[in-house]
Symmetry: C2
Subunit: 564 residues, 2 copies
């Protein structure tokens, strides 16, 4: 059957991405099917790499910069190793939209020259490869954001002078800090999905379990970093799009509050929707990797390049205060916790991840209190209405550029619903503010029960009801979107992986919250999920990034040690 | 002719406000007409006051708290003096919506008891009377916000349990700091006007020149503080509503960036309009009075009571840095300046105020550069469209509650235009962000021309084309609304008063920018404007409150000394 024009365009683009992989890095022979070789991380991908490449790529972002900023490792060697591993990753799970290894190596050579001449690094990220979700514009390469209609255009516009020339503010700041940019990672069409699929690269699978999804919408980032094809990268999050892939891939990821990381000059869906905003944040294999990227971007004073960024530098004093609390000075920490949202009970691997986190907190002597906030279903409803204010007009316009088919896992209503009016939108904004106020009051009220004299320091909860998810079966954004409505800071901490021998459903029946709850339980299969990572969220109030990052590093480390 | 029902309701309310003034404080005999006695500040109002009352009420907010927090003055004595003077002010210029002197005196007695018992003040505002624009809810009194339809309701809702019981977050924080609340000040119907008029208290005249307006929408605050019926109070600003009354009344006033002062639990117009936001800020007779209120509110951690407030405490380090710059370390300051916006040339008193400010800056050895930013007309257009997104539906609903007549100086389109749709609103939000980006880039670019190695430290410009204004003749919000679109920090510094002997139009014709420019010049009359105050704006980037407050205090002091 002949391809339609959009299928042809997509196929050509898909081939061009593969063609950008040097011959020497192409996997020879067939790749085993997911049923034959579910997990392609670790030993599987290592078979294609030299010991030196493995050493470099399995060092975290902080470890790498410790070596590249002191001349122990060259930028070129590090860059080549990550380019090689990213190339393999893409061949295994379809996680890249753009490959620009030549430009990366040129950057690396310039950095090495700089170091040779001056004896100093260019900046704190000197020689660190950093991956970018395909919303950020990088000169010399396209941004398709998963739309076939954006191929060969600037955000769907032909003859726009910014095509192949424009760079997002974040990109400029990363370059100035010495980062090496080398690839852009896959996203779902519209960005509005808990999975990553589009008509260009098709589907991004989970490297730990290729039967499952890598999550979305920053699913390419999640998959690439899980395979150590990147030490750290930047995603975006409007309903869970950083946190879901972080959790599904065993990584750390932060959804900061609006205004801390620069979004200026990046592509987006639903531009100008101002009720629930998308934010930029890093994902990394280590908590300290998040801190490195976050601090470095703030050190660039992003508020001078992006009018949406708040002039709040990295606050070392909050780091110090939090470290004292961690050390039990004066009275230790108090955490809120909820295991389910009253709508969908998490499947066994997620439930176990939560129990591990709770036991770790208790064993460290910190307090744990039952979190009973204003209904998260209200928040999910606000979020869903915010995403759909324009009746899908924005995404339908972009689909219409190519007439491509729309994937069913897109959560935007594309049935042609009417746009909301100014008064309806204003009422939603008021509803959001009132919800935020009730939640804040609840948060403050916990000072009465924590025993520390303070409200809870943070709250832990699931990221999704499932560890990764079966393609097409992403259950709900109810565990993540409330954070976006509240504009709170949330960091995902990796905890465990699904284990078919342990994570089995109880044999006794239980009361279901409703149909979604029943269906979600029914979709659990201990065999299918085996190996899928499960993380938790650790969240704090608005603009609490420094505190929550410190707590995430602490808790993640303790969980890791407890599991070791 | 019989009164209509709404006229009757408004008259009853108007009488009840007057009736709340104790008999002993009522002005006996007729008040002279504005043509007989234009200026009712200073000696005119002093005739009704004792020397001790004059001493107290003509001390600024900082001077008062220095005495009330150390037991030199009692809260009761201070409160009584301001209640008396506020009562006189209202009788002279119609500046109050609510009078609650009994409650204030009760508060003052409690504060005095506290001081007697503990030897300590309750907080930094111990015993300081603070006036509030009639958007803030105070228990025991109404909030009409100038709508007849809100009389005997909570924001137009009958049987709402919050009626007479609810308090805004700011009100709670002020009480906790020891402030004494005693009156709420007049606003224009809809809040959307550069003058202050409504069908309840009619028109708030300018105390320095009762032929003219006190400005709007915080016009009651401006008039009351000009008459020293209040040392300091809080207004709100979405297009100039703090700055215009500050300038028209010879006061300091700050329009902070969104998120520094708490708006939670206050009434508003166009609730949920999220494109250009109204903000809360203080007005005061002194720059240090602004600082006192601003710092005190931040010390209350308003982000714990208002989800819209950013967790940015008062930043002493910025104060210190700025003071060093003021002292010429290392290279002094650089100011941008523009005398007109290319649309309307200011009338002679405003032009002279600008020249005084410019000469003062130059004489102090600081740099002054010609400000040529992205067009402010673009910003004014964005602001106007933001205010009218709902086609006037919000204000029309509130007018419909009583069927009251709509004053012609309301700047909202009430002709029944259609509401904007989600996509149109999104496009406006994008247009705003792009404008903010261009402006920020321009700001940064001035580092090339200031000679200080930095961009300009602040910019000075007019507040309006006129010093105060003839009722019904408010010319344009073009000098103020761009600040709201940019979300920049702007402080009004009082400079001079119109002088019929000096501020005369040139006899030679000039080229006009357009019809509005020609009309505005034509409306100038040196005799009519004589005595009207004229201030300037001093503005900085977003969230630069500490820096701009320091510069405003410095510049205001130097201007005052130069004029003395």
């Amino acid at each position: 059957m002949a391809l339609t024009p959009w299928e042809q365009t997509a196929a050509t683009k898909r081939q061009s991405v593969l063609a950008a992989i040097p011959e020497k890095w192409r996997i020879k022979g067939p790749i085993p099917s997911p049923t034959e070789q579910r997990d392609v991380t670790g030993p599987y991908i290592q078979q294609f790499l030299s010991p030196r490449e493995i050493e470099i790529t399995e060092t975290d972002a902080v470890g790498i910069t410790e070596r590249t900023t002191t001349g122990q490792w060259t930028a070129v060697e590090v860059t080549e190793a990550f380019c090689h591993r990213a190339a393999l990753a893409h061949q295994l799970v379809n996680c890249l939209h753009e490959i620009f290894f030549d430009a990366a190596l040129e950057t690396a050579r310039v950095l090495d020259d700089h170091y040779t001449k001056t004896g100093k690094p260019l900046g704190p990220l000197h020689g660190l490869p950093v991956s970018l979700k395909d919303q950020f514009h990088v000169k010399g390469v396209e941004t398709t954001m998963g739309y076939v209609g954006w191929i060969n255009t600037f955000q769907g516009k032909t003859d726009d002078p910014r095509y192949l020339t424009h760079e997002s503010e974040l990109v400029k700041e990363l370059r100035a800090a010495g980062a090496v940019l080398y690839c852009k990672t896959s996203v779902p069409m519209t960005l509005m999905s808990g999975e990553t699929m589009n008509n260009i690269i098709t589907y991004t699978h989970n490297p730990k379990n290729r039967l499952l999804s890598s999550g979305g919408s920053s699913g390419g980032e999640g998959a690439l970093i899980a395979l150590r094809g990147s030490p750290a990268g930047f995603g975006t999050d409007i309903g869970g799009s950083i946190r879901v892939p972080a959790s599904f891939n065993g990584l750390y990821g932060i959804r900061p509050s609006v205004g801390r990381m620069p979004y200026e000059g990046a592509a987006n869906s639903g531009e100008g929707q101002n009720t629930v905003l998308s934010v930029v944040g890093p994902l990394s294999s280590s908590a300290r990797g998040l801190v490195l990227l976050f601090k470095t971007v703030l050190a660039a004073k992003p508020w001078l390049g992006d009018p949406g960024v708040l002039e709040i530098p990295w606050r070392d004093e909050i780091v110090e205060e939090t470290r004292k609390l961690v050390q039990g000075q004066p009275e230790g920490l108090a955490f809120g916790i909820f295991y389910d949202d009253g709508l969908v009970k998490p499947q066994p691997p997620v439930e176990r991840a939560m129990r591990i986190a709770a036991e770790t907190i208790k064993s460290l002597g910190h307090k744990l209190i039952d979190w009973q906030p204003p209904s998260h279903q209200t928040a999910a409803s606000i979020a869903n209405r915010a995403y759909n204010l324009d009746g899908g007009a924005d995404v339908l316009q972009n689909f219409a550029l190519s007439n491509e088919t729309i994937h069913t896992s897109v959560v935007i209503d594309t049935s042609g619903s009417p746009q909301k009016t100014a008064l309806e939108i204003a009422a939603l904004n008021v509803e959001k503010r009132e919800y935020q106020k009730r939640y804040l009051d609840y948060w403050n009220s916990t000072a009465q029960v924590t025993g520390t004299g303070r409200p809870v320091d943070a709250v832990i909860c699931p990221v999704a009801p499932h560890a990764a998810c079966i393609p097409g079966k992403y259950a709900t954004i109810g565990y993540t979107a409330f954070i976006n409505v509240l504009d709170y800071t949330s960091v995902v901490v990796p905890v465990t992986c699904a284990d078919r021998g342990v994570d089995v459903l109880g044999t006794e029946g239980r009361e279901y919250f409703g149909e979604l709850d029943r269906r979600t339980e029914g979709e659990y299969d201990a065999d299918v999920f085996d190996g899928a990572p499960a993380g938790i969220q650790l969240f704090g109030r608005r603009l609490q990034e420094e505190k929550i990052l410190v707590l995430a590093e602490y808790l993640g480390e303790k969980i890791r040690k407890a599991s070791a």
